[in-house]
Symmetry: C2
Amino acid sequence: MDERARHLLKSLIEQHIAKGVPVGSRQLARDAGLNISPATVRNVMADLEDEGYLISPHASAGRIPTHVGYRFFVDALLRVVPLSAESNRLLIHRIGFRAPDAEQVLHAATGILSELTHMAGFVRVPRRATRILRHVDFIALREHEVLAIFVTDKGDVENRLIRTEHSFGAADLAQAANFFNATYGGRPLQDVIHNLQRDLQQSRHEMDRILRSAMELGEEMLEEDQQRMLIEGEFHWLDLPELAGSERLRELLAAVRQKRDLVHLLDESMRGSEVRLFIGEESGYAPLSDCSVVSAPYSVDGEVVGVLGVIGPMRMPYQQIIPLVDGTAQLLGRALSQSG
Amino acid sequence: MDERARHLLKSLIEQHIAKGVPVGSRQLARDAGLNISPATVRNVMADLEDEGYLISPHASAGRIPTHVGYRFFVDALLRVVPLSAESNRLLIHRIGFRAPDAEQVLHAATGILSELTHMAGFVRVPRRATRILRHVDFIALREHEVLAIFVTDKGDVENRLIRTEHSFGAADLAQAANFFNATYGGRPLQDVIHNLQRDLQQSRHEMDRILRSAMELGEEMLEEDQQRMLIEGEFHWLDLPELAGSERLRELLAAVRQKRDLVHLLDESMRGSEVRLFIGEESGYAPLSDCSVVSAPYSVDGEVVGVLGVIGPMRMPYQQIIPLVDGTAQLLGRALSQSG
DNA sequence: ACTAGCACTCATGATGGTTGAGTGCCAAGG
DNA sequence: CCTTGGCACTCAACCATCATGAGTGCTAGT
């Protein structure tokens, strides 16, 4: 592909992103800035279509980019601009100055992504499998009911109500908690569960019921991690003519609620450390075949723990979206690192 | 209004609920079962329109009920059928046999309401202001960071990260927690905050920073209650021709996200102990003016603590919806009473 | 290699006629 | 006085037709 073709492709995609309608040869010839007749442009466009970068919705419309076209655009043609000072300030204000509560910061990040991009924003929350178990507490709520509380070193708190055969007094429970903390505390959560599983097979003890339930709580925490993802702003999709008013939208909403496959896709994209794009079919996930996902992993204390980004139509202003997602990921990582 | 008019109105509304289109005189004359000509029906319909029960979308369409019509229908014409055995079994299965975790049960109830009605289901979660503070814990996460945990007698757990000037050891914190539990434990949350506020004004202590933060956590718990509401299944609205494809839907979604006014409306409806309906404009809340809300309060241990229901179009099958909402409220109340 | 011209395609929007469902009103009949 | 049949009228929905205009591919000329 020669320089002129690249320039025209870039110009066409930019115009299509801006306007949302197919771009024709005349308009493109005018706006591309080259001194070229529409007929010449048509020849170039025909070539680009043959090579799979463009497609005509129908015979006498202009052309729109395919997902291949968008891919080439973002990889080779797009120059990402740094985040505007204003956006940056807004991000810092909304994420940086939050109450030091992890859950709240994650919510804030999801919200701001959705607001600033006018698409659906998501945050895949940190995995807890490698977290260190810091503290366990057993609290008697009433007869036959014990509340178990797990705390990890990052301040995750999870709790569960356990129904017991016996009624335990506060002293019993304190003792059990002490035992638990002494034996399993300070180790990664997954190790704790593993050891607990082994230990429980050997002993038979009155407290077993509680310990077993505690183990189940731990397992649930890890299990839950598989699914935990915040997403917000799906309703922005209603504004998009290319998505709204078709069955696609329903499918998409259902798929996003389901989360399963989506989470899998995102976990894949956690491997790198850079912003990553899934354009159209690239995700290999049918409901997303009309959409693009822009994602960036975020790190806490130097370790990648999650990924965030936006989901929108293929036709999105990547130039602004990419730095925004990137910046949000970095700020979120920093905010979480500070606050544990 | 004479008997025949009532019968026709009932028949018209039932048909409109079933089909969703305006009902004309001929069809109504046929289906109402009275031996009456369309012309006669027209006369009656004209009267009903004058009295505000019906309205014509345009000159040569049939008629549809107004919110006044629906109101008369549910108050005077509708005979609510008891919940079908099948639905009841499903409800019990989904709500009754849940893990004994309040949060999960609430989510389950929201989900099942949405699924069975094909509308948006909501659950206004229990208020915690009158809960008894059962247990407080302070845990050192790392230097200058303390995690405060509150537990109420119903098993609500709330936590908060506190950044401190000094670094406290485990012993210090245990002592503080003991003091806290001894002094404030066993009292309603709102009292705790009140007393704490008073006590803090008098003393000056190294621990004050932690106590003050703990108080803020308690305040946040109460504050948060103002907003806490689960809602699910808004996407069902996309299927409704009367809602979809207009600006109304956007407004509605935005309003539901906002929650503020909605929660206020629901808290009003907690006063009674019966199923309550807000039909169209009756809610006095503009974004809901095309919708109906069916709500029922639910009680834990004999005290009304929350309200649940569905939000859908005015044209909804009240006959099935009302017992379903009612049944869900009762089952949820029972499930929560069992599990604390 | 570029461009102008030309024939062709096709979505869009306006026009107009038809159909069918439904209404209001009136006059006749029980 | 209530009911009914009849009739004129209205209006959305549907369909066909037509003109328009944006856009294309192709070809021949520069």
